[in-house]
Structures are given as C-alpha cells and as structure tokens.
C-alpha cells in the first residue's frame, strides 16, 4: 500500500480534476466556454497517480485532453478555468483555450492539440535534464492510444532509448482514437509489445487503479533516474464522455459507458483507503469539503476575470527582452 501522504494527495487531486471537469462541462453547456473541450472524466487516477511522483523540477507534456494533467501538476484551478473561458487572467492570457494550457513554473510544458506533438518536446526536455546533470529529475510525456500511430512517437522513443534519457512515456489507453477503436488502431494485443523494439522496460496497468499505477511508477522512476533510459507505462482506462463536447458517440454503446463507470477510480480508491485504514471517513470528508470550496473559489475567480484587451493581441509572438 502507498503512503498515507501520497494517498491523500492523490485523492485530493483526483477530486479536483473530477469537479473541475464537471464544472467545465456545465460551463460549456451554458455557453460560457466556446470552442470545444475534451474532458478527462474517468481517467483521473492516471494524472494524479503519476504526478504524485513529480516535483516542479520534473517536466510533463500533455495532450488535447490536458486539464487533468495541468491540475495534477500543481496547476491553479482558477487560472486553468479562466484560460478555458478565454480570460486575461488565464494561464495563457486567453490565447490558448482548453487545448494548449502550460504552466512552466510547475514544469508543465504544455498541452498540445496536435496528437503526438508533445512527445518529441518531452524528449528534448529530458535531454536538457540529462545534459544539465539533473540526476534526480525526469520527464513524463502523456499521450493516448491515438498518438501511438504517429511517426514522432516512434522517433522520440528511439531517440530517448539511444540517448538513455530520463523519460516515462505514459500511454493513457482509453480505447478510442476519437472514434477509432483500439483493435482498428493497434495491430497487436498490447501496445507495450512495442517497448521491446527500443530495449525499454514497460508496464501495463489498470489505469483506474491508483495503487497499481503507483507501484509501476515507483519502479519506472527508479529506472529513469538511474541513467538507464526511458520506460513505457501503459495505463488502461476509459473516458466517460465523448472525445470532445460535440461527439455523437456513434461508435460505442451506452452499456459500454455504464460498465466503464462501474470501474470508477475515485470511489474505488476511497473505499480502498477506508478498508486499509489509511484514512478515516472524517479525513476523507475534510478533503472533499476542501476541494468543493476550492472549486467554488476557482469558478468565482474565472467568472469575474476580465476579457483580454485586443490592443495586446500581437504581444509575445517573439521574446523582445
């Protein structure tokens, strides 16, 4: 069993992500968020568990489904929500929206709306860590089963393995590349079969099981920070909502989604904490109340944030300093 400190941290982050995504969905339905939003509901255990092993000196790159990673990496709920609402107080001053949020101060090198686009960037960040002699630090590239069919994914894994870079390639396998089911995307039974081609150790775990992810991460972090090169970590999970907020979901049944919800990670971990005595009901309720308050404050912050001034729209294309 994982430590109490880690367990409570992960539980809090999972709850933050859950409430954040539910709030985002409500705001989208109320026309307060424009564009499209890709919700992480159901996948919370992956970002929270993986990031529980990281400090601000460790880097991540994220995906179009990136709010969960941003929050788990220490991102401020209010600034994240404000960005999704296009406000000036958002992480990127309203220029990025949902799909490109970054927080360099927390080691979040950015979500990326191009599937697979962040993976070579993460590889370069790990190269920096190696060249700068930061032996305790590492990088996690989050991406999905869809990105596994992109060329840069292969190129990055190959480079990282050749140069023994401290990077964990974290595949969030949610079973669909938009509407393409896994069996039409990956020609073998396991994505991690590919790790052997790079001489890379791999783990394939239930991505809705916090303890399983943490157990794999412990070994993965030890491997990448000992100079032995990258690790592939597949977390098998599932998204509750469509690929994006307008997805008609013609490719799967309601029953399938209901079955997915039965494997829900947060209640499962809550029960597990009580069962093992790692936390009592009172401690857990206190966390739940704290998160609910934080989310209400974040919503208040975002809703009351100013719009960006179009007079500054071309600022920051280049660094002028």
């Amino acid at each position: 069993m994982i430590t109490k400190e880690r367990a409570l941290w992960i539980y809090e982050k999972m709850l933050e992500i859950r409430q954040f995504e539910e709030t985002a969905w409500d705001l989208f339905c109320a026309n307060k968020i424009h564009g499209s939003v890709h919700l992480y509901l159901g996948e919370e255990a992956v970002a929270a568990s993986v990031c529980s092993f990281m400090t601000d000196e460790d880097y991540i790159t994220s995906t179009h489904r990136g709010h969960g990673h941003c929050v788990a990496k220490g991102g401020d709920l209010g600034k994240t929500l404000a960005e999704m609402m296009g406000r000036d107080t958002g992480y990127c001053r309203g220029r990025s929206g949902s799909m490109h949020i970054a927080d360099f101060s927390k080691g979040n090198l950015g979500a990326n709306a191009i599937v697979g686009g962040g993976i070579p960037i993460a590889t370069g960040a790990a190269l920096s860590q190696k060249m700068q002699g930061k032996k305790d630090n590492f990088t996690v590239a989050f991406f999905g089963d869809g990105a596994c069919s992109q060329g840069v994914t292969h190129e990055s894994m190959n480079l990282a393995a050749l140069w023994k870079l401290p990077i964990i390639f974290c595949i969030e396998n949610n079973g669909y590349a938009i509407s393409l089911p896994l069996e039409d995307n990956i020609p073998t039974d396991n994505i991690t079969d590919r790790a052997a081609g790079y001489g890379m150790p791999s783990f394939s775990v239930d991505g809705n099981d916090v303890e399983a992810i943490c157990e794999a991460m412990e070994q993965a972090v030890a491997h990448v920070t000992s100079g032995q090169g990258p690790v592939m970590l597949e977390c098998k999970t599932g998204r509750w909502m469509g690929h994006w907020t307008g997805d008609p979901e013609l490719y799967r049944t309601r029953q399938e989604v209901e079955e997915l919800k039965a494997r829900e990670p947060i209640q499962r971990f809550r029960a597990r904490m009580l069962e093992t005595g790692i936390a009592d009901e009172e401690t857990i309720c206190a966390i739940e109340a704290k998160v609910t308050k934080a989310m209400a404050d974040a919503l208040d912050f975002a809703m009351n944030s100013p719009e960006p001034d179009p007079a500054h729209v071309t600022d920051d294309v280049f660094y002028e300093g």
């Binding site: 070579p120 993460a122 370069g124 700068q132 840069v152 140069w163 920051d316 294309v317």
Partner: protein, 327 residues
C-alpha cells in the same frame, strides 16, 4: 580577417559560441565523424565530444521537436538539417510547435533554437534536395528567417541567431559552399543585427533586392548593366523576418524602380511580399510597377540544362532591370 570556405566559417562560429556558452549544443544527421554532409560541422566532434555534438538517427520531426523541448528548458540547441528541404519532414514541429509555443503559452516560454542548413540548386540532386524553401516560413508568425549571401554575413548573422531567445531558421546556400574561400572577420563577437539590410552596391536607376546566391548574380548583372550606362543598386535584406523594409524603401525612393530576385518560385515568393510592402509605402515615388524574378512554377529537374531553365539566370536579371526601366 581570415580566408576560409563558407562551411568552415559556419563551423568556426558554432565552435566559438560553444566555447562561450555551455548550453549551446548541436544536433543533426551526420554531424559527428564526417562533420555534416557538407562539412559545416567539421571538427566540432573532436573538440566537444558526443555529449554536445549529437548525431541523430534520420528522424527530422523527432530531433527538431527535441530541439524545441531542450530550448524551452534551458539549453540553446543548434539543429542542423542536412537539406532545408527536410523541414518538410518536420513541418508540424516547426510550424505548429516551434513557431507557436511562446505565443500560445501566453509569452512564458523562451525558445533559443536555431534550425540551420543549406538549400538551393547546385548539387545535382533534383526535386527534393534542391529547393529554396525560405518563403514558405514567412507565412507563419513566430519564426525569424536569415538568408546570408556571404560568409562574413553568415558569421555575423549566425552568432546573432545563436544568442537570440527566439527560434531562427537559418538558410545557407549550397552554391556559396562551393564558392571558394571568403574573407571572414576573426572577432569572436562579430554580430550582425537581424532586420538590417546591407546595400551591396550603390546605384541610382534601379533597386534590385536579392538574397543568398542571387546577391552575387545581381552584382554580376549590375556590372553588365553598368556597361550600358544603367546604374543598379543591390540591396541584400539578410533577414526576411524581421525585414528592413525602410532601407529597401529608401532605395526605391531614390531609383524609382524595383526588381526582386530569388531562386525560390516567383509565385508566392518573398519577392512578391516585398514588392507589396514597398508599393504600400512609397508607390508615389515609383516610375513603374515592380518586377519579380524567380523560379518557374515547376519542380526542380535533374538534368543540369533543365535545372538551369527553371531557376533565374543573370540574363533574366539584366532583362528584368531593362524592362522595369522601359515601362
């Protein structure tokens, strides 16, 4: 001043910057033992070792993206592309990632990344290894574009590029590599600011704006025209972004006539952009509509005579100058 090959001047500048700043390093194909396929990284492996001279697999998108990741986390990578045609293999990383990272993240990231290599005809390599591709990148905000025409300019511009905290695409031309030895300043602080054009020849009748190999061709055309009493001013912008439009406009105000010359296709090339900007600003000083000289709208063929028929030749520049004067 020293005399050296264009490629040696590039390698020497990189070495000087690597000695000065430990965060500068080189990544690219064949930059190791052979020092790059054209020798522009020659001698670097011997001095700096494999840790800082990183020979990559043939994975342009992967190592350009890794350059971006390293650049936004404290390093200053110089990524060598064997041919700038290969930017096309890495296009998502260059156009969607490198160019946009600073802006979309609200100005938080600095991207001190140089992507350099040679381009153009002269290698007998046909359609996919002979293109001049600089104009394409002008249409994407977030990239600086350097196009040196002499080894001395290349040294000054490359040093500026390496020390710049923004992404720079640095286009060398393979015909300049083969142009014998060049005079190169020895000062290891010699820098040329971006966005500052150089008037390579003074004249009064027609302004020719050219870059890279075509600055030399324009100067030869100017010699010929001088024999007929036509005085040509040759302006080399040296960087296309930022662009020193003021110097070009001042020249056109004086001559009243403008010709742009590049090896890239005339259609959609930077020549059209400069002509548009000039007309926007100083149309009332112009005696005739400007003329652009560029490659035909045709992939580059292998046969040397066919290749020559596609890209501009000195007589084309001479004819364009006469035509703009006779309008």
């Amino acid at each position: 001043m020293s005399e050296m090959l264009f490629t040696a001047a590039i390698a020497r500048t990189i070495a000087e910057e690597m000695r000065r700043d430990p965060s500068v390093f080189v990544m690219g194909e064949d930059v190791g033992v052979i020092g790059g396929i054209y020798g522009a990284s020659k001698g670097l492996l011997e001095e700096f070792g494999r840790e800082r001279i990183r020979q990559t697999p043939i994975s342009e998108a992967g190592f350009v993206g890794a350059g971006l990741g390293a650049a936004c986390t404290g390093m200053r990578p110089i990524v060598e592309l064997m041919y700038m045609d290969f930017t096309f293999v890495a296009m998502d990383q260059i156009l969607n990632q490198v160019a946009k990272t600073r802006y979309v993240f609200g100005g938080k990231a600095k991207i001190p990344l140089v992507i350099r290599g040679q381009q153009g005809v002269g290698g007998g390599n046909a359609a996919t290894h002979s293109q001049s591709v600089e104009s394409l990148f002008l249409n994407i905000p977030g990239l600086k574009i350097a196009v040196p025409s002499t080894a001395a300019d290349a040294v000054g511009l490359l040093r500026t590029a390496i020390r710049d905290d923004n992404p720079v695409l640095f286009f060398e031309h393979k015909k300049l590599y083969k142009g014998g030895k060049w005079e190169v300043p020895d000062d290891p602080e010699y820098m040329i600011p971006f966005g500052k054009a150089d008037i390579k020849r003074q004249g009064t009748d027609v302004t020719v704006v050219a870059t890279q190999f075509y600055v030399g061709e324009a100067l030869k055309a100017a010699e010929e025209l001088a024999k007929e009493g036509i005085s040509v001013e040759v302006v080399d912008p040296r960087t296309l972004y930022p662009l020193d439009i003021d110097t070009i406009c001042e020249s056109v105000k004086k001559t009243g006539h403008l010709v742009t010359v590049h090896e890239a296709c005339a259609v959609g090339g930077w020549g059209s952009e400069i002509e548009s900007q000039v007309m926007d600003r100083v149309f009332r000083y112009m005696d005739a509509a400007p003329i652009r000289v560029g490659a035909k709208q045709c992939p580059l063929p292998f046969n040397p005579n066919l290749e020559k028929a596609v890209v501009p030749q000195i007589p084309d520049i001479v004819a364009a100058c006469k035509r703009v004067l006779s309008k």
